[in-house]
């Protein structure tokens, strides 16, 4: 009994010892994962051998035996005898893979659109920047209009002009906010309040300051964009990776908000809303995307007035958005069900109404849980959009296949496909990695609860 109790007057805990050396570090990892026993070791060696064999073959084909300069596929074959890739053809067609038939002289607009989006979203990665949600929301809601005006060119009516002015204003606001945050202020809002002399007053008045600043920015942006004179480019000329990114980008950015609304509707207590949302989700989830696409481009125009003359691309984008929303709705519903009823009750008990409860308490928690599924859905959607090639939109996949039918490059199938595969891999892998990063960082330190 004496050994079992601390007989000293003061309880002193034993000091912690380091773990046994062969269970940690590189050696520990190798022992645990690759050479855990004879069977594991054999499998590891066989696996490594196979991997090396294929990697070597791929390296030979894509690098060592590859041809980089040629004028036709015939020339390539003469050199390689089929044992190497003909990157010369891919290089010649590269412009089409990326931009479709977008006129060469206007391609800077596509590039500029891409750069604007990247610059707009860049503050996400800046440590000191506050209001990151506003950055994302502003980009998702208004950037498509700015990009549309830029890519289409020509005159698109007052609504598009107004919306792209809003986008320009918010874009400027995002970067002014960055400047404010890095000059030691709390946010652009704080600077505005200080400059206008409202600092220290009731902060419920601040929203009027923000609104006034926004109005000024809007007017400036509107005047600025009305000076643009961009040549119109028909959507039929859009293509390649650019088109793929336009369709999937819009699909991805609308999927989450519309999915949230559908999911809430399906859980609603109001029967009409619930039945409508359930029917919508079930209908579009039970039909293949290709069917929805065909319906959109062949049947929808029959129901619409002739004068409307809907653009094929618009119909396709709407179809993709509907499809993506239906899938996203079920993911969101799953996430909502993971939230403890105690959270709903606590939110109710402190007096929050339904929408405040959802936006302030439930959704922020549910979205964090949903990140892996959401990003998985986004990746799936990006790849699914290649189906638009079947209804004749020249996205990257159809462009890749078209290049093999070019008389000069007849028979060139493997190389463009490898290129397309590489492009998709880079985009999807980046999305996947970023989602893992988000999972780790979002929501501060509430790992255990």
């Amino acid at each position: 009994m004496a050994e079992l109790t601390h007989t000293d007057a003061v309880f002193t805990p034993k000091p912690s010892q380091p773990p046994p050396p062969n269970t940690v570090g590189v050696v520990g990892w190798l022992r645990k994962n690759l050479f855990g026993g004879p069977f594991d070791s054999v499998m590891t060696i066989i696996g490594a051998g196979l991997l090396a064999y294929f990697a070597y073959g791929l390296f030979q084909y894509t690098i060592v035996n590859a041809v980089w300069e040629a004028d036709s596929y015939r020339e390539c074959l003469d050199v390689t005898q089929g044992a190497g890739a003909c990157w010369a053809g891919v290089d010649k067609w590269m412009n089409n893979y990326l931009y479709g038939r977008y006129p060469d002289a206007e391609q800077w607009r596509v590039n500029l659109g891409g750069i604007i989006l990247a610059v707009w979203l860049a503050p996400f990665w800046f440590e000191k920047v506050t209001q990151k949600i506003a950055v994302g929301v502003s980009a998702v809601l208004t950037y498509p209009f700015l990009a549309g005006a830029l890519f289409l060119g020509g005159d698109n009516g007052l609504f598009m002009q107004a919306m792209s002015s809003v986008a320009l204003t918010l874009f400027a606001a995002v970067w002014l906010n960055v400047a404010a945050c890095y000059s030691g202020r709390r946010s652009l809002g704080a600077v505005l309040v200080q400059v206008t002399g409202f600092a220290g007053k009731d902060d419920r008045l601040y929203k009027w300051v923000y609104l006034a600043a926004f109005a000024v920015g809007f007017v400036v942006a509107f005047i600025f964009q009305s000076t643009w004179n961009l040549a119109p480019v028909q959507t039929t000329n859009w293509g390649g990776l650019f088109l793929t990114l336009v369709i999937s980008g819009i699909g991805i950015s609308t999927a989450l908000p519309s999915g949230v609304i559908l999911a809430l509707g399906r859980r609603s207590k109001m029967p009409v809303i619930r039945v409508f949302c359930t029917a919508f989700i079930e209908l579009f989830r039970s039909v293949p995307l290709i069917t929805i696409l065909f319906m959109a481009v062949t049947m929808m125009p029959l129901f619409l007035p002739v004068t409307l003359n809907p653009d094929k691309l618009v119909l396709v984008i709407v179809a993709v958005c509907i499809f993506a929303a239906a899938y996203m709705a079920e993911i969101v519903r799953g996430g909502l069900q993971a939230i403890n009823t105690g959270q709903y009750e606590a939110a109710r008990a402190v007096g929050l109404n339904y929408w405040k409860m959802m936006t302030l308490i439930v959704m922020p928690q549910a979205l964090k849980l949903m990140i892996p599924n959401i990003v998985g859905n986004f990746i799936g959607l990006l790849k699914d959009t290649t189906l638009v090639s079947i209804i004749g939109l020249y996205d990257i996949l159809l462009m890749v296949r078209a290049s093999g039918q070019d008389p000069k490059w007849l028979g060139m199938h493997t190389e463009p496909m490898l290129f397309a595969a590489f492009v998709f891999f880079v985009i999807c892998f980046a999305m996947s990695k970023y989602s893992q990063h988000l999972e780790r960082t979002i929501g501060g330190g509430y790992g255990r609860r």
Partner: protein
């Protein structure tokens, strides 16, 4: 055990009951499907009154207090809180919830918000209070529950007792005139029960109207103006703690008391 710890700290704290009615339940009935969980409940609570509700599990005591802020809907009978009648009108329900705070067995803090944000959220979004004001109110309350130094932490970083004290501060931030406690110490480690009970005793001393569902009989003896014993959806007996513990009337109460006080 807890009986002795609380008892030894002092006498029954002075009653502050006025004759103003704040909660009135008459003939309240509730069913979960076929299960009749509340049967003809009549209860009048006066301003400043501290009521402890006890009874075996499944007796309807939690359901009863959850009907008072409409986390549960009753099917028959009338509930009036602060003179507002509980009906399907959302405005009435919101008005009642603004004035009735609630503390849960499982704390139910918002895990994605810091302690301070937990306490300022409702004042800012429900009462439209300025953020700076809400924060100063919240800090005062966190000092009152003795954890101001944890304000910037997330609930997951706190112990159970600390979380429950934050939950109390969060409810108080709405400046309620009635507080409901649904087994506030049942999910706590024994070492942490007294820190939560101390806060509740302090609250009682300040004259708050409190309805407490609990098994802490020491707390009942020390704080309650009235102890209510429920079984099978009915109020079996209600009396002052003195009478209730020393001179129970019904056999069911005697059995209950003998079981919980046996150890």
């Amino acid at each position: 055990m807890s009986l002795e710890t609380v008892d030894s700290e002092g006498q029954h704290i002075a009653s502050a009951v006025s004759d103003e009615v704040v909660i009135n339940l008459s003939q309240v009935n509730k069913w979960y499907g076929d299960f009749h969980v509340l049967k003809d409940i009549d209860l009048t609570v006066y301003k400043g009154e501290r009521i402890v509700i006890c009874g075996p599990s499944g007796s309807g005591k939690s359901t009863l207090i959850r009907c008072i802020n409409r986390l549960e809907e009753h099917q028959r009978g009338d509930i009036q809180v602060n003179g507002v009648t509980m009906d399907t009108n959302l405005k009435n329900i919101d008005a009642i919830r603004r004035d009735v705070g609630m503390v849960f067995q499982q704390f139910n803090l918002f895990p994605h918000l810091t302690v301070l944000e937990n306490c300022t959220l409702a004042p800012i979004w429900v009462k439209n209070m300025a953020k700076s004001e809400a924060e100063s109110v919240a800090m005062t309350l966190l000092e009152r529950v003795q954890i101001p130094e944890q304000a910037a932490k997330y609930p997951g970083q706190l112990s159970g007792g600390q979380q429950q004290r934050v939950a109390i501060a969060r409810s108080l931030a709405m400046n309620p005139n009635i507080m409901l406690f649904d087994e506030p110490t049942s999910a706590l480690d024994p070492e942490m029960i007294s820190e939560v009970l101390d806060v509740m005793v302090g609250l009682a001393e300040s004259g708050m109207t409190m309805l407490v569902v609990t098994h802490e009989m020491g707390f009942a003896k020390r704080v309650a103006d009235r102890v209510i014993f429920m079984d099978q959806g009915e109020i079996v007996e209600q009396n002052t703690p003195d009478e209730f513990f020393n001179n129970p009337k019904s056999d069911r109460t005697k059995l209950f008391l003998s079981q919980i006080l046996a150890h």
